[in-house]
């Protein structure tokens, strides 16, 4: 019912506008087209200046309403992210000034130079000096922005500091898998044909001893405050993107082509809860590359803690290899291994062997 009412109202508005439009056309014929054209010109000239004033007010008002909801009210949560923010402010200052000035000039000129019988048009086809000025000034301003930008770019995409920890992130429809290299600090090899959702979510090659202490998990990734982290990013199926808004970082996850990104977390999750005043605060990983119908729900969480807490947590983690082959756990007595797990694990091992032979 409300829908019909809405449609009726819209149609009514249309009819009214149409009638007014039609009538004004008749009036213009009666008054003389020249007279009514000039009247319309005055009205539109006035609206130009009106739009300018209201528009600038709107820009300010919009900022009042929504600035507080952006990320800019708080510090970036990574050392590198702070550089993104400072670069953002410089860019905003440059483009903001140009925006305000050119919009004012545009609408002011439109208003000021509206048709008037007394004005003689100034025949002004070109002026080399002016044109050189507004080629050179933007070029200089842009050079400054490029220099700032590229210095940051090479820092962000360059090698991380020596003490950086490494975590592997793998995207899949629609979630994230994380892998820590374990005590030996190296990841074991993997091959995608070994992937099995139940027993080997990353396709690790079990014959590779480096992988035996790798820790694999989903949902939450733990990072250390103040310690640079290098993420090695990949995907199991389609292209995803590791989006870390609070750290101001983002990198695609491409199947078959590993990518990397590094940053240094500045605040623990707990500290961020205080800084933002939001007790539910989380560092979220958002997928920022269209990856299918569940794209919008592809969420991961990063928990930033301090080193002690991290160590305590890490000790509790069982390597993925041990989870799959409990009988191989050096810490556990041999008898614990039950036969069911054994038989289940035979298949992936053989598949992995074949895969290695193929490589």
């Amino acid at each position: 019912m409300t829908m019909f009412l809405t449609i009726a109202v819209i149609v009514l508005i249309f009819v009214v506008i149409f009638q007014i439009a039609k009538a004004s056309e008749y009036v213009s014929v009666l008054k003389g087209e020249e007279v009514s054209r000039k009247q319309n010109n005055k009205i539109n000239g006035f609206l130009m200046i009106g739009f300018l004033v209201l528009g600038l007010f709107g820009v300010w008002y919009c900022n009042e309403l929504y600035y507080g909801k952006t990320l800019l009210v708080h510090d970036a949560a990574s050392v590198e992210g702070a550089r993104v923010d400072s670069m953002l402010w410089v860019t905003l200052a440059v483009t903001g000034i140009v925006f305000i000035l050119t919009q004012i000039v545009l609408f002011w000129f439109a208003y000021k130079y509206q048709e008037s019988e007394n004005r003689k048009v100034f025949f002004f086809p070109h002026n080399n000096k002016l044109e050189v000025i507004w080629t050179v000034i933007p070029a200089i301003a842009l050079t400054v922005l490029v220099v700032i930008g590229l210095r940051n770019w090479f820092l962000f995409t360059g090698e991380p500091p020596q003490n950086a920890m490494v975590v592997e992130v793998t995207g899949k429809q629609f979630g994230w898998i994380y892998r820590y290299p374990g005590k030996d600090g190296s990841f074991g090899k993997k091959y995608y044909k070994n992937i099995d959702n139940a027993s080997n979510s990353l396709g690790l090659i079990w014959d590779d001893k480096l992988g035996h202490d790798d820790v694999v998990m989903e949902q939450t990734m733990y990072l250390v405050k103040g310690k640079p982290v290098k993420l090695i990013i990949g995907s199991r199926d389609v292209i995803h993107d590791v989006g870390l808004v609070h750290f101001r970082m983002k990198m695609d996850a491409v199947p078959g082509i590993p990518t990397t990104m590094w940053f240094t977390p500045k605040y623990t999750t707990k500290e961020m809860k205080e800084i933002t005043g939001n007790p539910n605060f989380q560092y979220e990983i958002s997928c920022d590359q269209m990856c299918g119908n569940g794209h919008y729900s592809m969420k991961g969480v990063i928990e930033v803690v301090d080193q002690e807490e991290f160590d305590a947590w890490m000790v509790k983690q069982k390597p993925y290899y041990v989870q799959q082959f409990p009988e191989k756990d050096p810490a556990a007595p041999k008898a614990v291994a039950d036969t069911a797990a054994k038989t289940a694990s035979v298949k992936p091992v053989e598949a992995a062997k074949k895969a290695v032979a193929k490589m």
Binding site: I17, A21, N41, R236, M290
Partner: protein, 606 residues
């Protein structure tokens, strides 16, 4: 349509008779089919492009209203949606599949069918022969084929909406592996096959048209019409055609490889893939990034294919209605040329976060920000054109001024996004949506509206209703800013694009009210576009008749043709050109037409 009544009086050349067999001095017989359907008259083909483009604009706009409904009212249900969309809106709420299909089709249709075919298809066809002084295109037959390939592309795209597994839903950029694997997304099944066929047909249409436009501009200018006397519209349309001809084949090659990957078991784009429920795929060694290079090698020039025609028309309309020459004519051509060259050298700025080689990325940063220089020249030249003019606010002029405002607003945020270190943060957020909708989407629509209002009298021999035009302009301008300006703030909060629902995200769920506001404004703006459509079709039949040959007092050649020009455009000889197109307000004269010989006492001559 009585406006077509004045056809082929004396000396009109029936170019489509073939074999150079020219018919003079008698009325050429045309049937309904040859005149309105398989027409080879560039003006009729232009109208066909325009009206087909309008149909797509309504459909594409309606799609955006539907998915804005989901974004603005994520918890509400609208039973009537189920009546319209059936299983795609079970229980009155648009499903994820439908949402992504709508977003994808909205993008594809608006970029290619409306702002490429509908914009340059319409105005290149309509204006090139009329403004260079030619009877028709170099090949009217190819021109006709160009439209009908576009029509076929439209039919295939439209049909894909009715496939059981749904139309393609992986975003208008169609990145593989998502677009290559039906098992990864139902939209990538039959819907994607049809999407590819439609786009392939569209590329053919675009190439046939583009070659024709280039050939016509280079070879068929009338006597005295040197390249530097061409109106800026023609220069812009010429560069547009060059961009299209050089870049669409690359897109096509990308699509061919995608078709092979999809159907014939090749691995150009596929490697190391495990799909849930299917298992590991045999493909190894391909690169998903290769597709992105091929796609954006068209994709970025495409942005300028959309924007340049609007720039050209705006330059012309601003000058005519300021009654003042365009400022810096040669600088305008130079900046168009610079933009056209740079358009080919910046494609990878869409790929800063794909793991691109950082050094390569830095080159693309430099080249991308370089585009700001010719863009700045254009803006300052437009502003100077207004300065000390005598401005007439025709609806066309209003839209031209609106274009400049939007081009400034959207262009400046390009400086943010083109700088890779900043793009890392803003990439694929609402900031990007705000940027490209303002600078490319809405601005080019404004250019198109400006063109339609300005050349409608030439197209149909009638005026559009001014009052409705003014309402259309002011509501659309205000609406465009109200919709897209606040999106910058959503982008600065990091809110990602292409999300069906934000409620599970602690970081992005604070914009519920803003999203509702944006959706509401979007609906109002859409309704006002319907008002424009009504004005358009009503005025074709019942509009105020044009009574003078040159209603705007313009210098260019199209206004020397009869009010309703027939096929062949000029009765008798094609006029000769003696000067550039911008002698407004010179030596105290209101304007001097291009056909007027240079007087002995005239000041500096161009």
């Amino acid at each position: 349509m009585s406006n077509e009544a004045v056809v082929h009086a004396h000396g009109a050349v029936a170019t489509h008779e073939g074999h150079g067999d020219h018919h003079h001095e008698h009325h050429h017989h045309e049937t309904f089919i040859t005149k309105y359907v398989f027409s080879q008259d560039h003006k009729m083909i232009a109208k066909q492009f325009l009206i087909t483009g309008m149909v797509w604009a309504v459909l594409g706009g309606l799609m955006s209203v539907l998915f804005r409904l989901q974004l603005g009212y994520p918890d509400a249900t609208f039973p009537w949606l189920e009546d319209i969309l059936g299983k795609w809106a079970k229980g009155g709420r648009i499903t994820q599949e439908a949402y992504y299909a709508l977003v994808t089709t909205h993008g594809t249709v608006l970029v290619f069918f409306v702002l490429t075919a509908g914009l340059s298809g319409t105005f290149a066809n309509f204006l090139i022969p009329l403004q260079v002084g030619a009877r028709d295109m170099a090949s009217p037959f190819m021109n006709m084929l160009s439209y009908w390939f576009f029509f076929a592309a439209s039919i295939v795209m439209l049909s894909s909406m009715f496939v059981e597994t749904g139309p393609f839903s992986g975003g208008w950029t169609a990145y593989p592996p998502l677009s290559a694997l039906g098992d990864a997304s139902p939209g990538s099944k039959t819907g994607m096959d049809m999407w590819l066929i439609s786009m392939a047909l569209f590329v053919v249409s675009s190439l046939l048209g583009g070659l024709n436009y280039i050939a016509t501009v280079l070879n068929m200018r009338t006597k005295g019409m040197s390249m530097t006397r061409l109106p800026l519209t023609i220069w812009a349309l010429f560069f547009t055609a060059v961009l299209g001809v050089l870049s669409f084949p690359v897109l096509f090659s990308g699509f061919i490889l995608l078709i092979f990957d999809r159907n014939f078991g090749t691995s150009f784009y596929l490697s190391d893939i495990f799909i849930n429920g299917v298992g590991a795929l045999p493909n190894e060694g391909g690169s998903a990034i290769l597709y992105q290079h091929l796609f954006w090698f068209l994709g970025h020039p495409e942005v300028y294919i959309i924007l340049l025609p609007a720039m050209g028309m705006v330059s012309e309309i601003l000058s005519v209605n300021s009654r003042k020459p365009i400022f810096g004519y040669m600088a305008m051509i130079g900046s168009l040329f610079a933009i056209a060259i740079l358009a080919f050298l910046v494609w990878a700025h869409h790929m800063f976060v794909t793991g691109l080689n950082p050094f390569l990325g830095s080159i693309f940063v430099l080249l991308t920000l370089l585009i700001a220089v010719p863009s700045a020249i254009k803006v300052f030249n437009w502003l100077t054109t207004l300065w000390r003019g005598n401005i007439r606010f025709t609806p066309g002029m209003l839209f031209a001024i609106g274009f400049v405002s939007l081009f400034i607003s959207g262009g400046l945020t390009g400086i943010w996004l083109g700088n890779s270190a900043l793009d890392i943060h803003l990439h694929d957020t609402y900031f990007v949506i705000a940027h490209f909708h303002i600078v490319m989407g809405v601005a080019s629509m404004f250019g198109m509206f400006a063109g339609i209002y300005h050349w409608f009298p030439k197209m149909y021999g009638k005026y559009l209703n001014n009052t409705m035009g003014y309402i259309h302009f002011w509501v659309t301008l205000a609406g465009a800013y109200l919709i897209f300006w606040p999106m910058h703030y959503e982008g600065l909060a990091g809110m990602p694009r292409r999300y069906y629902d934000y409620s599970i995200w602690e970081s992005f769920k604070q914009f519920v009210e803003l999203n509702r506001f944006i959706s509401t404004v979007a609906m109002i703006v859409f309704a006002v576009q319907l008002l424009f459509l009504f004005n358009f079709f009503y005025s074709i039949f019942k509009g105020r008749k044009v009574t003078s040959l040159n209603p705007w007092g313009a210098t260019t050649l199209e206004w020397t043709t009869p009010i309703n020009p027939g096929h062949g455009n000029w009765v008798g000889e094609i006029p000769e050109v003696h000067r550039w197109a911008y002698d407004y307000g010179k030596d105290g004269k209101e304007f001097i037409a291009q056909t007027t010989p240079v007087g002995a006492d005239e000041s500096e001559h161009h």
